[in-house]
């Protein structure tokens, strides 16, 4: 109850970043951490492709190859793609709904640190006896002690910690979007990216508990001698497959829906047109999210569930093509007759549409159970999911980064480098993955570390590896671009793209309180409505006043560190270490509960001053 300070305890440098609860800074943290894991996962991919460049190569051994494919998949899905999505959600969603902050700033920070320490824990396996090597799906019995190394323990514990972070991050965004919208921002006026973030967060909420249970069961089997997946003691390996995919399939939509949201924003802005069929887009997003929970067993057609299950899950899967098709046509019709510009953001968005459509069509092919018996575990599947995840999600993320970079960092990315980035990455991508369809149809199985000469597989594999160099160059160009932008002294304007939504009504980067006055939203594309009405900016829903802000805290960092320590304790069966870690974590929780955060206030005179400065 102590009188609330009107100023935050000023922390600077690294202490500021470790304690921040500001969603914009947490967004940047997610981007940096996710970006580093993306580079690690990319390096793993490069090594995989080098090994497969020619028949019977021995660049890396078979064991290392298994570790690389496992870590490539795990890293890209959990530690690179999801965090970069969270980076954009953090940076943009509160701005798009006219909020000063997220609903739970502390929980937001905790979510980031849990993900970060979980990711670090998994990757330390490289130095502590070998990385996990049972594939990113870690199917039992292969993942049990008898058949796999120590590395799986890192996978099991690291993903539990990181998954917990993702789950609370998802809850935070759901509450933020439900409760923190500015006056007038009804659900049907929310920008599509916010809608996609909302549905994605819902999917996170319902999907992650299933993988948590799966991982706990696997952990009990591996560490405590339980028998869930041990057929000798009555266990059943299909249970792992079900639990993994009950999570794993919604996870696919967790990844792709935010990309759909980004593409919708970018295509609409750069066509200078309102998004075509807004309400059908919202409906399609929600429907994809809902159906996403009904289709998981299409990953298990060859397990032996029988014709009834296969038919039901195959049909449900094909249904998803309908709302997805609606989206594709809506984007095309948004561009139809628009004044289209092609900055890099829109290049990636327009490149996304045909690429993703190809991935979607191979998806429908895979949804046909009898045909899937042919495609299953072949490179056709590898080609399919890279078309949707790289050609879909990663293109979407690049579009989003080029589009929102000025809002996040206050600097524009260079367009010339950007165009080189797009074309090298785009061409490299198609060179890499298009031949893989045919490799798969010719019978090349996935997850093999080499192949023989004279079976017609040489050319496809060689082209595929050449393509990876294109994607590598594209990624390096992006890093160069970010560096050049950081070094440049030119500041980005508040509204560089002639934007339509609320985030473009405030300075780039926004001040810590986002909106000096909460805006009043008077329609879809809130800023565009005001522009059309001839207003200079938003009208406001409140007079200038004192703004309450939460204080930063070290607790999220320390709390996550506690679980990180406990994780090692479990792996090495050292229960003193488990105890220490748990005491740290629960101690922090107790402190957080007992000590109220009074926060601090920013007074109107400071706002004026800062508003001008920013």
């Amino acid at each position: 109850m102590s009188a609330h300070a009107s100023h935050a305890p000023k922390r600077s440098g690294i202490a500021d970043w470790l304690t921040t609860v500001d969603h914009k800074k947490i967004g940047i943290l997610y981007l940096i951490a996710g970006g580093i894991f993306f580079l690690a996962g990319g390096l793993e991919a490069l090594l995989i492709r080098l090994q497969l460049m020619y028949p019977e190569l021995q660049v890396i051994g078979a064991k290392t190859f298994n570790e690389l494919i496992t870590m490539h998949g795990t890293t890209m899905i959990f530690l690179a793609a999801m965090p970069v999505i969270f980076a954009l959600m953090n940076a943009i969603v509160p701005l798009q709904i006219g909020a000063r902050d997220v609903a739970f700033p502390f929980v937001n920070a905790l979510g980031f640190w849990l993900f970060f320490f979980g990711g670090v824990l998994i990757n330390t396996s490289w130095f502590l006896g070998g990385a996990p090597d049972a594939g990113w799906t870690s199917y039992a019995t292969l993942a049990l002690n008898q058949y796999s190394g120590f590395g799986i323990d890192f996978y099991v514990l690291g993903l539990q910690i990181a998954g917990l972070g993702t789950l609370i991050g998802g809850i935070n965004f759901l509450v933020t979007i439900i409760n923190m919208r500015a006056p007038g921002m009804t659900f049907m006026r929310m920008p599509l990216f916010t809608w996609a973030s909302f549905v994605t967060s819902g999917l996170i909420l319902f999907a992650f508990p299933a993988i948590t249970v799966g991982l706990v069961l696997l952990m009990f089997d591996r560490l405590f001698g339980a028998a869930f997946f041990n057929p000798d003691a009555g266990g059943n390996v299909v249970i792992w497959q079900h639990l993994f995919w009950i999570f794993g399939h919604p996870e696919v939509y967790i990844l792709i829906l935010p990309a759909f949201g980004i593409i919708s924003e970018v295509v609409s802005t750069f066509s200078k047109k309102r998004l075509f069929g807004y309400s059908s887009m919202v409906f399609a997003t929600a429907l994809i999210g809902f159906l996403g929970f009904m289709v998981w067993a299409h990953h298990m057609f060859t397990t032996g569930m029988g014709p009834i299950a296969n038919t039901l899950f195959g049909l449900a899967t094909m249904l998803i093509a309908v709302p997805t098709g609606i989206k594709i046509f809506n984007w095309l019709l948004t561009m139809w007759g628009g004044q289209i510009r092609f900055p890099t953001a829109n290049l990636f968005a327009v490149g996304f549409i045909p690429t993703f459509t190809i991935g979607g069509m191979t998806g429908v092919m895979l949804a046909v159970p009898p045909a899937d018996y042919q495609y299953h575990d072949s490179y056709f599947v590898v080609a399919h999911f890279h078309y949707v995840i790289v050609g879909g999600l990663v293109f979407g993320l690049f579009a989003g980064l080029y589009y929102w970079w000025p809002k996040m960092f206050g600097k524009m990315l260079n367009e010339t480098i950007g165009k080189w980035n797009f074309w090298t990455f785009f061409i490299g991508f198609h060179l890499t993955f298009f031949p893989q369809h045919f490799l798969g149809l010719m019978g090349m199985p996935r997850r093999v570390f080499t192949y023989l000469a004279g079976q017609g597989l040489e050319l496809g594999n060689f082209i595929s590896t050449i393509g990876v160099f294109g994607m590598t160059i594209g990624t390096i160009l992006f890093l160069v671009n970010a560096y050049v932008a950081a070094k440049s002294s030119k500041r980005a304007p508040a509204d560089p793209w002639d934007g339509r939504t609320l985030e473009w009504s405030i300075p780039s980067p926004p001040p810590e309180y986002n909106f000096a006055q909460t805006p009043l939203v008077r329609g879809l594309d809130a800023l565009w409505v005001e522009k059309m009405a001839g207003n200079k900016g938003m009208t406001y829903a409140e007079p200038l006043g004192s703004i309450h802000m939460p204080n930063g805290s070290f607790l999220p960092f320390i709390m996550s560190l506690g679980l990180f320590i406990a994780g090692y304790g479990f792996m090495y069966h050292n229960y003193v270490v488990v105890g220490i870690g748990m005491v740290i974590t629960f101690g922090c929780m107790l402190m957080r509960s007992l000590k109220d955060d009074p926060g601090y206030h920013i007074e109107p005179d400071e706002i004026d001053e800062k508003g001008v400065k920013a």
């Binding site: 909420l205 319902f206 299933a210 249970i239 079900h242 929970f293 032996g304 029988g306 299950a309």
Partner: protein, 104 residues
Amino acid sequence: MGAHVHDEPRKPKVKHDGAKKHVIAFIASLVLTALAFAAVAFEVIPAGFTVPFIVGLAFVQALFQLFFWMHMDQKGHEFARISIFAGLTFILIAIIVFVFWVWW
């Protein structure tokens, strides 16, 4: 309600339910529980029907508690309902699949 009218000049915006409703929910829960136990203990209904019967009782009791004790019946709980029922729907599908398509 009436007891604190003096220190609360304003009319309460929300009508608070009394203890009665909750005691009724408690008794209902007890009866439902007793029925389930009795169905198993005395085998009063055909054996093949017992499982659906007691699972049905469990759902009725769960709804009682969610709506009365956890106030899910009240206004402002729209997202609470969506959250619980969406989670329930998704996981019920999974449970059905686990019943039929784990062993074959």
